[in-house]
């Protein structure tokens, strides 16, 4: 997965769009459509996440993955579309539904799956699990289990970007459920006050665990949650990877331009329950069927690429096969990797003083 680039890709054809406002905080019209190559890459990236998550669910059912396991199936377009706008200096942080973000950051599926199975070759040497994985190398800063807590931390990463003048932006992902935590607004206030380079990505999948957003939030317009601090917020169709990609371009331009934070509310949907143990009885089968049938980000892109004659069925089959093989390889790796040695119990508690 080639997610981290030093520049955004070139545009193929720029569509004419409606100009909304001259204000920089409003969405501009300069964003570029993804190229054909990019779209094919999006497809691969999203499919990898989906197949990976399906396999993780399977391994969970087999008892190979324990504890909490929150799958990202349905939301793939959000992270794939945004990560296509990332440069090397950027950082990413998210909460506990994090496998997709790791794969989209370019982390190795083998290392992620091995962490899920609690093995030594996992990204956290088996000591973190599904919710606690990191890769400094790939700019992925977790993987945090406390709802809302990653938002000040991501804001702190953006503080470091500004302090170090490294040109980086923090992509701070969290769910609709986190938007009612007080510390989110503490972070918004400081980010706006100090014009920190952070993009708050609210993945609004309509449910905070089993409670629908309507039952949890007095105001469901989550993109407006920064308005008290003057933080602009845009709504994006999070089930459309091209729309996400374009919104990401504009957001990055705005934030990297020193204008302070921005909120992207991604309207999305998770197909599975909150975690593996959640039967998701709080929503109707029809609601789920409608989202899957009409808005699935992978199916939509596939139909578009077929209609535009970019790939034929054989082409897709070949791609699907390759991804499936990669996921199978990661699952095998994760089962064959040994459990951490008992001596690992006492390592990594503190760093040695130089």
């Amino acid at each position: 997965m080639a997610a981290r680039k030093s520049a955004t890709a070139k545009s193929s054809a720029s569509k004419s769009k409606t100009k909304k406002s001259a204000k920089s905080a409003s969405r501009a019209s300069t964003d570029k459509e993804p190229t054909v190559d990019q779209q094919v890459q999006f497809y691969k990236d999203m499919l990898l996440i989906r197949r990976f998550e399906e396999r993780a669910g399977q391994l969970y059912g087999m008892g190979l993955i324990g504890g909490f396991c929150h799958l990202y199936i349905g939301q793939e377009a959000v992270v794939v579309g945004l990560q296509a706008n990332v440069i090397d200096a950027d950082t990413l942080i998210t909460t506990y539904r994090d496998h997709g973000h790791m794969l989209a950051s370019g982390m190795d599926p083998k290392g992620v799956m091995a962490e899920l199975t609690g093995r030594i070759d996992g990204y956290s040497r088996g000591k973190g699990g599904s919710m606690h994985m990191f890769s400094r190398e790939k700019g992925f800063f977790g993987g945090h289990g406390i709802v809302g807590a990653s938002v000040p931390i991501g804001t702190g990463l953006s503080f470091a970007h500004k302090y170090n003048e490294d040109g980086g932006v923090n992509f701070c992902y969290f769910g609709d459920g986190a938007t009612n935590q007080g510390q989110v607004y503490e972070a918004f206030n400081m980010a706006a006050l100090w014009k920190l380079p952070v993009i708050y990505v609210i993945e609004n999948n309509k449910y905070g665990m089993g409670t629908s957003i309507e039952r949890a939030s007095a105001s469901t317009d989550l993109h407006r949650r920064g308005s008290a601090y003057g933080i602009p917020g845009w709504v994006v169709d999070g089930m459309d990877v091209a729309a996400v990609y374009k919104a990401g371009q504009e957001a990055v331009e705005y934030v990297r331009g020193g204008n302070g934070p921005l909120i992207l509310e991604m309207k999305t949907y998770r197909y599975r329950g909150h975690s593996m143990s959640d039967p998701a009885k709080y929503r109707s089968k029809e609601e789920l069927a409608k989202m899957r049938g009409e808005h699935d980000p992978i199916d939509r892109l596939r139909l578009k690429l077929v209609a535009e004659n970019v790939l034929d069925e054989d082409g897709f089959k070949e791609m699907d096969k390759a991804i499936k093989a990669r996921v199978t390889e990661s699952a095998e790796f994760a089962q064959n990797s040994p459990e951490p040695d008992p001596s690992e119990l006492f390592t990594d508690v503190l760093r040695d003083v130089a």
Partner: protein, 458 residues
Amino acid sequence: MATEILMPALSPTMTEGTLAKWLVKEGDTVSAGDLIAEIETDKATMELEAVDEGTVGKLLVAEGTEGVDVNVPIAIVLDEGESADDIELPAAAPPAPAEETSSESASEPEAAPRPAAPKPVMDADEPDTGETVELTVREGLRDAMAEEMRKDEAVFLMGEEVAEYQGAYKVSQGLLEEFSGKRVIDTPITEQGFAGLGVGAAFGNLKPIIEFMTFNFAMQAIDQIINSAAKTLYMSGGQMGCSIVFRGPNGAASRVGAQHSQCYGAWYAHIPGHKVVAPWSGADAKGLLKAAIRDPNPVIVLENELLYGSKFDVPVSDDYVVPIGKAKIEREGTDVTITAFTIMVGKALEAAERLAEDGISAEVINLRSLRPLDTETIIKSVQKTNRCVSCEEGFPFSGIGAEISAQIMENAFDWLDAPVARITGVDVPMPYAANLEKLALPQVEHIVEAAKAACYRG
């Protein structure tokens, strides 16, 4: 009737102040609310207002006088018809503060006794102090930060009132001027937010010093301190180091009630993944804070507000760093070991002095670090004295004393000649009333009694 204007107490911990400037002169008429003087307290320069109207008859204390005790008359205001010549000057000895008030705790900072003639203690781990200068604890803390900030661009200070206000307790005086607003940053009142932001900045390879105005407010942020700062290294298999200092005053101040008076030593010491230090002297403060800033792990620095104004000989050298995890034997003795940290070290030394008068030789250990706890030094001492009294301001249940007792039982059971005694705060929220507050806090006589009991004396 002429009215005396007394040196006011302008902060909970103020026992004396500087009469910085008179804003009136003798013969001026004043009305209630008029500004008459500028008083410099342990925290700030405050303006003093007249309470009644009258004519300034006599200014009793000259401008610029330092160390003017609270309640000492500083001026006399005359009623109509009175003349300055009629004034009977107050007796030379100023009225002492009423005995009933919390004079003991209020005067603690300066009262913190220094061992009269401490025996030199030979300890290979004790850093060479070299040249020293007399400084307050707050100046020691400030110097530690300034020196480390000069050395390392990644170090910055963030917290409420740390920059333009110069620190709520004047600890960060002068830092904004030297290091600019980029590195000395005033935050909104948003503990959880800025603690979390600091952790993120540390993940981003900066070295934040996060100041809490008091550790009582850090309870708002304790999830970030423990779940985010202390645990992430482990959860990441060693990738996500977090070099961050959380510091600020801890423990009981004076007359501020239950929500502002609590020792969090046992709370933080309970947690693996970070270190906890609790300085007593100026050298401790400077040396431990420097060690904390240099440490690649999260370090909690539990200071004490009542000690901020205490003066000690502080090493001048930039290289004076007190190793974390090492206790210091402040006074050698043979009959009973007394362990203490931060403000209780002063009380323990005073107790040792009194015990000496009764022929009991007490060894006083300044723990300095609560995690890692220097159990080796404690055990060695107990093997010599066969008795131990542990002192802390915190609550008794699951306190540091409980841990020390268990360690001694596990490691020196056969050496004990008496049960380990725990001197702690009492098991109630801190009361406001001066007499009750005093009763709630461990006092020197409690340590003396416990030590005597351990020695089967008295």
